[in-house]
């Protein structure tokens, strides 16, 4: 068996898992608030900086640092939703989109002011090293293992949460029909804020995992993964949780394979090219729902 191929596949799945975790935030917020939160990528960056600061300056253990990053990002997500997006709930989607881009620049520039433009070297939060298999022919990094595992656990938890819990069901109700949800006594604004909170906490995890694998942390660290994850969400069918997962992982694999077998320079072009082809063939994405309504 070709071990390079297997190794590339694993790297692709690992990178794709990060995309998938970010894409969940995009897709959940889109599903419930029908808006594209383009600042989501920058929340990843904030999460990574928080974890970095906590480990470097406060010398706290990685797990505590991750929790701090999650708490800060959760608050940040909710504050952004309440201050920037909530007043625009009835505004045109273009106004919301521009606001989201504005929030994105605000976060990037705030980070630039606080931490400067020089890259910080993020030390991995994964406590163990690489695993070597087949007499050293196949090496799997600890980061890959943790990332994929985290992705699987998050996927399972979110699925159970939305299917079984009262709040999860309320989120589905709001995403389907806000007026009807209100008539059930569901507080729509609160439900949307909780969705932002969950998405942002996941973004913090994604930021930490991303920077553990690719340690150069700058204020723009979140933008490209953010756009890729958005692509992944659309690719899988925006609004769909399993779609975000599949889209993310496929995108990661395509990206790594393009880099290894075609060209590093063209990898991003190929990734976005695949998106265009998928959308031409199936405009709702791979798992996108087509809603049929009975009259």
């Amino acid at each position: 068996m070709n071990m390079t191929l297997v190794s590339n596949l694993i790297n692709g799945i690992s990178l794709g898992s990060v995309y998938a975790i970010i894409a969940l935030g995009y897709t959940m917020v889109y599903g419930i608030a029908k808006m594209l939160n383009f600042a989501h990528g920058d929340v990843i960056m904030v999460g990574a900086y928080m974890c970095f600061c906590s480990m470097t300056y406060l010398s706290l253990p990685p797990i505590v640092s991750i929790l701090i990053a999650m708490v800060v990002c959760t608050l940040l997500g909710v504050i952004v939703e309440v201050l920037a997006y909530r007043p625009l709930r009835k505004a045109s989607s273009l106004a919301v989109l521009i606001t989201a881009i504005g929030v994105s620049y605000l976060l990037q520039n705030a980070a630039l002011l606080i931490w400067g433009s020089a890259p910080k070297t993020f030390s991995s939060v994964v406590p163990f090293g690489s695993v070597s298999l087949f007499n050293g022919d196949l090496i799997i990094t600890g980061e890959s293992i943790v990332t994929v595992a985290a992705c699987v656990v998050i996927m399972i938890c979110l699925t159970v949460f939305t299917k079984k819990s009262r709040m999860g069901k309320a989120m589905r109700a709001v995403s389907e029909d806000k007026d009807a949800a209100q008539l059930m006594g569901i507080n729509v604004n609160k439900t949307i804020a909780i969705t932002f909170a969950i998405g942002s906490a996941l973004a913090a995890i994604a930021g930490v995992l991303l920077c553990s694998a690719y340690p150069a942390l700058t204020p723009t660290t979140g933008s490209m993964p953010g756009i890729k994850a958005f692509t992944a969400a659309v690719f899988g069918g925006i609004g769909s949780i399993p779609g975000a997962m599949i889209g993310g992982v496929l995108l990661g694999v395509i990206e790594i394979f393009s880099k290894s077998y075609i060209s590093s320079e063209l990898a991003d072009a190929i990734v976005f090219g695949v998106l265009i082809v998928v959308l031409l063939v199936k405009p709702t994405g791979l798992l996108g729902k087509k809603i049929t309504e009975k009259v």
Partner: protein, 232 residues
Amino acid sequence: MLKVDNINVYYGQIHALKDISLEVHPDEIVALIGANGAGKTTTLHTISGLLRTKTGSITLMGEDITHIKADKLVSKGLAHVPEGRHVFLQMTVQENLEMGAYTNSAYTKDGILDVFNRFPRLKHRRNQIAGTLSGGEQQMLAMGRALMSQPKLLMLDEPSMGLAPILVQQIFDIITELHKSGTTVLLVEQNAEMALQIADRAYVLESGRIKLSGTGKELASSDEIKKAYLGG
């Protein structure tokens, strides 16, 4: 039970409801009839807090609810089955009912049993996605979902819309039954004949104003109503 006093509602520049006042007393069925666009649905939306009135007040069981948001009214005993049913199409029948008891969780289990007793057809479809139900079944689900909050006042918006005559009869039978078991009903209907048959009292809306009111019998025998709404 419900007192709507002199409300005026606007959609932007359009003056949709003009000085509407109406009352629903405990244990009554009150019908709101009128042509398309007369303001029936707007009236219900304003009562349930989805729309706001510029003037006047709305009182539910003695409490001023004019400025209370829709999601806070459910626990005050108001349930609203919207026009077009608005069940959650991608959720199962059971999940729809659970959402109905969102503010009344302790009742979820008993409530679902009660709804299945009233609407046996839903029982067989409990794990089916609501989008796969027929129009009549969706109407039953929407009504069942509203009952899950154990409302004091049930507002029904066009429950017969788009249904086959046999189902219309069934839905009206169910409304009568609900009324007998102690639920007060405010019913909006285009099917004036059916509505006046079961209503204790009724209001006739025309272009955003209340044009006539009276008991169901009075209105059903009024020449004006016969001409305009009962086809002769």
